[in-house]
């Protein structure tokens, strides 16, 4: 099963030009911070809040052409994804079975 990568923190690092800045981000799989270029609308201020930076980090679009969000959208951080994402639900279920919690089928 693929291990998903998530941003755990983000902060502005450097301004490139009016439509681009560099953000310093930390993910769940890498201990050190890495730099990532981020595009922003021309003329807007470089965001300083983590939430605003995350909104702008936009490499792979998590939206379909008709504007609906895809599976890529519904993720949570790896430390607490149990049951709250597809991978998390699958891992949780497999773990229950591995630890002997699978109950026999019962129908009525």
């Amino acid at each position: 099963m693929a291990k998903r990568i998530y941003i755990q923190s983000a902060e502005p690092y450097a301004q490139i030009n009016s439509t681009c800045f560099v953000a310093s981000i930390q993910t769940n799989q890498v201990g050190t911070k890495i730099l990532q270029p981020v595009y922003k609308p021309d003329g807007t201020e470089t965001p300083t809040k983590q939430n605003d930076i995350m909104r702008l980090i936009d490499g792979i679009d998590g939206w379909t052409s008709d504007g609906r969000n895809t599976d890529l959208v519904g993720m949570v951080s790896s430390t607490n994804e149990i049951g709250s994402s597809i991978d998390g639900a699958l891992i949780e279920y497999e773990r229950l079975i591995a630890y002997g919690h699978k109950v026999p089928t019962r129908s009525f």
């Binding site: 909104r55 890529l72 951080s77 279920y93 109950v103 089928t105 129908s107």
Partner: protein, 295 residues
């Protein structure tokens, strides 16, 4: 030690964790984070999808608090300005009506601050959450208390009057399909005897998750599966028909008895497969009955 015992059961793609809580207990769901290269979504509402999940309890109170925080003041305001009808019927979280919702059980049990009674009636569907729930604009949090009683004076009549369940006590989408991308706190309280906050029949808290075996996308979940619940009141029979064209799974918040050729019972803490076309539940006991079916 607030959780005194716990048990786990997995079957049919349904996982159930049962916890018995004595004393005060707090459980946090921590924030969701986007993947690098993705964003949580442009709805600005701060909610993201998750496999269907429901936290059942039989009676008693539960306090829930969403801590938006100053960084998410925008989401805080958006949530307070939204209405139950918008949040429960949004198309933002799935292509059909089954995938997109806060669990509709919250409509039955959340105490609203307009009339201070459990449940959000249909006529409050267009009220803003700022009118219905407690909020604190210093720490940007929203808080509400749920009363999960199914028994007691006027409880049955109140639940039936809310316009959430139909005449067969059926409702859609009891399981939550979205989760806040912000911290969510559940809080219970109980004394050492396990009786708490008006809980008439102390019992386990049941954390239940469903993800269909073999499915890999939310589209598969929403397209192929449906979910609903029956509210079974004590003193009434209840008939449950099989739904859809495939598998039917059931789990419950409290023990109930049924009569299909012979009397037997369904207990909380594990899922069951319903194979009979129609089942009559006998009058004793009340329960929330979650029904998942293949469309």
């Amino acid at each position: 030690m607030p959780i005194t015992t716990s048990s786990h059961a997995a079957c049919y793609g349904i996982a159930i964790h049962a916890m018995n809580i004595h004393g005060a207990h707090v459980q946090w769901t921590r924030p969701s984070m986007p993947i690098p290269g993705n964003k949580i979504g442009r709805t600005e509402s701060g909610w993201v999808r998750q496999p269907w999940r429901v936290l059942l309890q039989h009676g008693g109170l539960r306090e829930q608090k969403v801590s938006f925080g100053p960084d998410k003041a925008q989401e805080f305001r958006t949530f307070l300005n939204s209405t139950p009808n918008q949040m429960h019927r949004s198309d933002d979280y799935g292509p059909t009506s089954t995938g997109l919702t806060h669990g509709s059980l919250s409509r039955l049990f959340t105490i609203n601050k307009i009339d201070n009674k459990a449940g959000i009636p249909e006529e409050y569907g267009d009220k803003k959450y700022s009118e219905l729930l407690e909020f604190d604009d210093t720490d940007y949090s929203v808080k509400w208390v749920q009363d999960w009683s199914l028994e007691g004076d006027g409880v049955k009549e109140r639940i039936k009057s809310l316009g959430v369940i139909d005449k067969n006590n059926w409702m859609h989408n009891p399981m939550t399909g979205i989760i806040p991308s912000i911290p969510l706190r559940n809080r219970w309280n109980a004394n050492t005897n396990g009786t708490n906050w008006g809980r008439s029949t102390p019992s386990d808290i049941l954390c239940c998750t469903f993800w269909p075996e073999g499915a890999r996308t939310y589209d598969q979940l929403y397209r192929d599966w449906g979910q609903g619940a029956y509210i079974k009141f004590a003193g009434e029979e209840l008939e449950i028909p099989k739904r859809g064209t495939g598998k039917n799974y059931i789990f419950v918040s409290n023990s109930i008895r049924y009569d299909v050729n012979q009397l037997d019972h369904l207990g909380p803490g594990r899922p069951y497969e319903m194979k009979s076309d129609r089942v009559t539940l006998t009058p004793e006991n009340s329960s929330i009955i979650i029904h998942i079916y293949q469309k």
